[in-house]
C-alpha cells in the first residue's frame, strides 16, 4: 500500500497533482494573508493590523501552522524544480526553429522564473517581518518603514508582480493537472484564475503604493509617536508625504 502511494506520488502525473494541491493550498494562504494585510487600510494608526498580528502570534498552534505552510512551500518548490529539470532532459537536442501555436503565454513559459523570483522575495519577506526583531511600535510601523524606502517598495512590487504572472497560468493549470476539465466549466475556471491572479497581485501591491501615495494622514498621526523612536529612523521621520514631493519636484 505504501509502495503504491509512493509510486503514485513520485510518478510524473502524481508529482504534477501534488504541485497542483500544494499550489492550491498556497493560493488559500495568499487569500488569507491578503485579507490580513488589508487591515492596514483600516484606520490610520495600524492598530487593526497590529491587533490582527498579535492575535495570530498569541495562538499556541502558530508553530504548527508555520511548519505546515513551510512544508507546502518547500514541496511546491522542490517539485517544480524537479519537474523542470526532468522536462529539460526530455529533449536533449533542441530545434533550430520553433513556432508556438498553443496556449503558451509569457506566464506559461516563465513559471520556473516567476516561481524563483517569488522564492527570493519570500526569503526577503520572511527576514523582513518574521525573523527581524519586532519594533516596539508594532508590525504596522515596520511595514510602513519598509514600504516607504524606494528599494523596499520596489522589491515588494517585483515580488507580487512575479506572483501575479505565476498565478495567471497556475490556477487553470492546477485544475488540468488534477484531471478536472469540462467544456462547460473550464472557460470559467480560466477567467476566474486570471481574475484571482490580478486581484491578489493588485491587493498585495496596494500596501507599498498606499504607503507612497496616500499616507500623509497616517504619517501625521504617527509623527508624535515617531519622535520617541530610535535615531535609526530619525532621518526618515519626515514621512513619505514629505519625501515623495521632494523627489518629484527636484528636477524642475
Amino acid at each position: 500500500m505504501n509502495n503504491r502511494l509512493f509510486a503514485l506520488a513520485t510518478s510524473s502525473i502524481g508529482r504534477k497533482a501534488l504541485m497542483a494541491l500544494t499550489g492550491l493550498g498556497l493560493i488559500g494562504f495568499l487569500v488569507v494573508h491578503l485579507a490580513g494585510n488589508l487591515t492596514l487600510l483600516a484606520g490610520s494608526d495600524g492598530a487593526a493590523f497590529n491587533s490582527y498580528a498579535r492575535t495570530i502570534e498569541s495562538n499556541p498552534l502558530l508553530p504548527l501552522a508555520e511548519v505546515g505552510l513551510a512544508a507546502l512551500f518547500l514541496a511546491h518548490i522542490v517539485l517544480g524544480i524537479r519537474q523542470a529539470a526532468g522536462n529539460r532532459e526530455a529533449r536533449p537536442v533542441g530545434y533550430r526553429q520553433f513556432q508556438s501555436h498553443g496556449n503558451r503565454k509569457v506566464s506559461t513559459s516563465s513559471m520556473l522564473v516567476t516561481g524563483l523570483i517569488v522564492l527570493v522575495f519570500l526569503v526577503v519577506h520572511i527576514s523582513d517581518f518574521r525573523l527581524a526583531a519586532r519594533h516596539p511600535q508594532g508590525l504596522a510601523y515596520m511595514v510602513h518603514e519598509r514600504m516607504r524606502q524606494p528599494l523596499g517598495a520596489a522589491v515588494y512590487l517585483l515580488g507580487v508582480g512575479a506572483l501575479g504572472v505565476h498565478l495567471w497560468h497556475a490556477f487553470q493549470s492546477l485544475f488540468q493537472s488534477l484531471g478536472l476539465r469540462h467544456p462547460r466549466y473550464s472557460p470559467l475556471i480560466d477567467k476566474a484564475g486570471r481574475g484571482l491572479a490580478v486581484l491578489l497581485a493588485l491587493g498585495f501591491a496596494v500596501l507599498p503604493v498606499y504607503t507612497w501615495v496616500a499616507s500623509p494622514a497616517k504619517a501625521a498621526a504617527k509623527a508624535p509617536a515617531e519622535s520617541t523612536s530610535s535615531a535609526v529612523s530619525g532621518p526618515h521621520d519626515s514621512s513619505p508625504a514629505a519625501a515623495t514631493p521632494s523627489v518629484t519636484k527636484e528636477p524642475r
Binding site: 503504491r4 502525473i13 526532468g86 526530455a90 529533449r91 526553429q97 496556449n103
Partner: protein, 259 residues
C-alpha cells in the same frame, strides 16, 4: 541543384535539412537549392524530387519516413520551419502541399526531437517507444468471440463520440515534437480515452492507465506543463481534454486499485 531537369517553371526553394548518417553521428544542417517544383506536389513528393536529383549526382538521399501518404499511418512527421507537420493545421506532412509555401521560400526541415524518439538517420526516428507504451496496456485483451448483435452493448452517444475523437490518434508523435517538455501525454491520453470510454475497456481500465503511464515515463518523455502545443500540432486535432482524462484516470487508479 542543377537546373537542367526543370527549367524556369515551378517553384524555387532553398532547403535547410538536418543530415545525420546514423544514431552516433552528431548531425548537421545542410542546404540544397531546388527548382521546378510544382505547387501541386505534396511535401513528400518535393523531397522525392530532391532525392532523385541527389542520387543522380551520386550523393546520399535524405532519409525520411513515410508509408500511406494519405494522413492515416502517422509515420511521416517532420518539423518544417519550426512547425510539427508544417504550417497547415490538422494536416500531416504527407497531406501538406507545396502551395502552402511561397515561391523562393527557404524551408528548415528537422526531425522531431525528443529523448524518447532517437534519430536513426536524417529525418527518420526510432518511434518504437510509442509501440512499447501501447504494448504496456493500450489494448483490450478480452476475446471477442462471435460478432454480437448490434446494440447488445449500449454505449452512450456522447461517450462514443469522445472515444472516436480520441481514436483518431495516428501515433505520429507530433504532440511530443511540439511539446516544450517532449511529453507524450496527449498520445497516452488519447489511448486512455479511446479505450476507457467504452464498455469493453472497463475491466482493464485501471491496470491500463497505470501501466501505460509508467511506460511513458520509462521511455524518457517529459511531463505536462499545460502549454497545449500538442493539441495545436496534432494533425487529428485531439483535444487536451484527453490529458485531463489521463490525469483523472491515473490518480483514481493509483488511489483505488486493490491489486
Amino acid at each position: 541543384m542543377s537546373a537542367d531537369h526543370a527549367p524556369s517553371s515551378g517553384m524555387r526553394l532553398t532547403l535547410n535539412i538536418w543530415r545525420q548518417s546514423g544514431p552516433a553521428d552528431a548531425g548537421r544542417m545542410e542546404t540544397y537549392h531546388l527548382d521546378g517544383i510544382s505547387p501541386d506536389m505534396s511535401f513528400l513528393e518535393m523531397l522525392d524530387v530532391l532525392n532523385v536529383r541527389l542520387e543522380r549526382e551520386g550523393r546520399e538521399p535524405v532519409a525520411f519516413d513515410h508509408d500511406c501518404r494519405e494522413g492515416i499511418c502517422g509515420s511521416c512527421g517532420v518539423m518544417i520551419d519550426g512547425n510539427a507537420h508544417g504550417p497547415e493545421a490538422e494536416t500531416a506532412t504527407c497531406q501538406l502541399h507545396m502551395r502552402s509555401f511561397a515561391d523562393g521560400a527557404a524551408l528548415t526541415i528537422e526531425p522531431f526531437r525528443a529523448k524518447g524518439f532517437p534519430v536513426l538517420k536524417d529525418l527518420v526516428l526510432d518511434r518504437s517507444a510509442f509501440d512499447r507504451i501501447i504494448a504496456a496496456g493500450g489494448f483490450i485483451s478480452a476475446n471477442t468471440g462471435c460478432a454480437v448483435d448490434a446494440n447488445s452493448t449500449p454505449v452512450a452517444k456522447s461517450d462514443a463520440e469522445l472515444s472516436m475523437d480520441a481514436a483518431q490518434c495516428i501515433g505520429c508523435g507530433a504532440c511530443v515534437a511540439a511539446c516544450p517538455n517532449a511529453a507524450a501525454m496527449l498520445f497516452v491520453g488519447a489511448k486512455i480515452a479511446h479505450l476507457g470510454l467504452l464498455p469493453q475497456g472497463q475491466p482493464e481500465r485501471s491496470k491500463r492507465v497505470l501501466a501505460m503511464a509508467r511506460q511513458m515515463e520509462a521511455e524518457g518523455f517529459g511531463s505536462c506543463s499545460n502549454y497545449y502545443e500538442c493539441e495545436a500540432a496534432c494533425p487529428k486535432a485531439i483535444s487536451v481534454e484527453n490529458i485531463a482524462r489521463l490525469n483523472r484516470d491515473y490518480l483514481r487508479a493509483g488511489l483505488t486499485t486493490r491489486d
